[in-house]
Amino acid sequence: MTIDSTPPPPPPPPSEGAAGAAVADGAAGAVPPPPPTGAPVAGPPPTRPALLVPPTATVVVDNVSKAFGSLVAVSEVSFAIEPGVTALLGPNGAGKSTLLRVLCGLTPPTTGRILIGGGDPRTDAGARARVGLVPQQDGIFERDTVYQFVHLAAVLAGVGDPQAAARAALNAVELDPGLERPLGAFSKGMRQRAKIAAALVHQPPVLVLDEPLNGLDPKQRRQMISLFHRLGDEGRTVLVSSHVLEEVERFGTRVLVLAKGRLAAEGDFRAIRELMNDQPLTYRIGCSDPRTVAAELISEGLVAGCELTEGGGLEITTADAVGFRRRLPAICSTAGIRLEELTPLDADLESVFRYLVGP
């Protein structure tokens, strides 16, 4: 599904593999939207194309803006998401947390509307009951035990057997329900898991996690990512925010990219990465003979510039990333050069955003 809140600029020719991604207004490029797969939320306003909602959509964000005084934190964001894991990607300050707060009904949107299971979570207790939220902030009931914390969440959600639900949720995040220590004495990672257990305890169809991997060690991160995938596979809608590109790659393929409060792109993560291949990209090459490789690449017209680095490596800039990556192994092999490293230096998050929203 695609949302365009303003008329898009003329689309450049889409690159290979980019069909699953759509770059929204404000981005450096755009691709034509895929054919409609569902019905609009409402009759389309005259100035704005309708939001196309798949029949299986569980969360609908329709033209939502949120302003704090003169500061616009979220601007005309629309999307609909379906069961499975969806990542909300954006740099710090992009408006991710504000958007998630609006999405959960914690604060009203300035304009637009949110529907979760057909209800507005701001005013409809039933819609709120469908959501489990792991907020970003560290605040937690520090004097409570982890069992008290999760049990309270179960009772307030109206779970039939709150004791059993609390134990099951704690087991799911591998926390011992019998821990007597207060939450204030927990490590950040354990607190994070306690918050996830509290969000899971009533088995919500929609789980919203705001930077849930903060404070977790690598092993815990792997476990949590695995848990998110399992929940997504079970048919729940899992929306996870992050500003770390590597995390998002592991969350799954569906991403919403938020930048400067606007939805910069949405779709398949790999497709968005592929879109970047049309832009000049920089790579670091480690090999046994960088001079020869540089000469070959220049002679074949694959690079726009190259530089031998002090450590004996080679950094090149190419406008044809696909062709470059295809030819480089062959060049090395033909010349009998050992290729030791090929690292894209632009594949960090800031580069993605620079590409998507412009400088």
């Binding site: 009203p108 409570d144 914390f149 079970e234």
Partner: protein, 272 residues
């Protein structure tokens, strides 16, 4: 594909029960959530967070001061009932009751706003009125016994065991505490640094301005609580002649309005 005119989204599919790792939850119908134990759970939660070591020390100090004051007043055999009622009104109902209510009431929800834990109860499908009621009830559960025991001891020791003075103290303190707690629970939700603003209110308004004249006293909770004390003890207290019925009505009305305001505020709050 559905037609473009069809409104909103299709019903949310429930997770496949055969694939869930936990017991599958029923997908709740909008607006039909039953949370039978929520009020009790919220009450116990607020109560657990009310009793900190620092507050217990403060309440111990208050109890000691009230006991000593009562004992000192009681040493005078001439006008000890009148003196005891005056001190209970001015110092007890005018200072101790609002300060204790402020410490407990402003923290009941205010602390959750400040440490950003309100989200854990706000997001749940619980009526806001229950959350407000739980906060007021829990704060009052601590404030009323503390103030009633402290001021009751002061009145009993000071008046030489005068039953009417004691009854007036207990009733005035109970209803005064309830009104103040309700107001300060709302204040905690309304402003940052509610403790500071509450102290300004107590010392500037209740302690000084409301004692300057009858007009201001009519807008003072202390005046109505003191009126109950004056009526039951049959003693005259300055600016505390509001009448028994009016005092009951005003104190209960203040409590109810503050509770309703807290509920309204929770419904419209932006939660961090």
């Amino acid at each position: 594909m559905t037609t473009p005119t069809q409104p909103p989204p299709a019903p949310m599919p429930a997770p496949d029960p055969s694939r869930t790792s936990f017991p599958a939850a029923a997908d709740p119908a909008p607006g039909r959530i039953r949370t039978p134990g929520a009020l009790g759970a919220l009450y116990r939660l607020v109560l657990r967070h009310q009793l900190t070591r620092g507050r217990l020390v403060l309440f111990g100090v208050i109890l000691t001061i009230c006991t000593i004051l009562g004992w000192l007043i009681g040493r005078d055999n001439v006008s000890r009932v009148s003196d005891a009622v005056d001190v209970v009104s001015a110092f007890g109902l005018g200072l101790i009751v609002p300060v204790v209510a402020l410490v407990l009431g402003s923290a009941a929800l205010g602390n959750w706003v400040e440490d950003e834990t309100l989200v854990y109860v706000w997001l749940r499908p619980v009526a806001r009125s229950r959350l407000a009621l739980a906060a007021v009830a829990a704060a009052a559960t601590v404030a009323v016994p503390i103030t009633v025991v402290s001021l009751g001891l002061m009145a009993a020791l000071g008046s030489g065991g005068d039953a009417d003075a004691l009854l007036g103290t207990v009733i005035g303190t109970t209803l005064g505490s309830l009104a103040y707690v309700s107001v300060f629970v709302a204040l905690g939700l309304l402003v940052k640094r509610a403790l500071l603003w509450g102290l300004v209110y107590v010392f500037i308004w209740e302690f000084f301005i409301a004692r300057a004249g009858d007009g201001a006293a009519r807008l003072s909770i202390n005046s109505y609580a003191s009126s109950l004390l004056a009526d039951y003890s049959d003693q005259s207290i300055r600016l505390a002649d509001r009448g028994l019925t009016a005092s009951y009505v005003v104190l209960l009305a203040v409590s109810w309005v503050a509770l309703a305001f807290t509920t309204w505020r929770l419904q419209r709050a932006s939660v961090a």
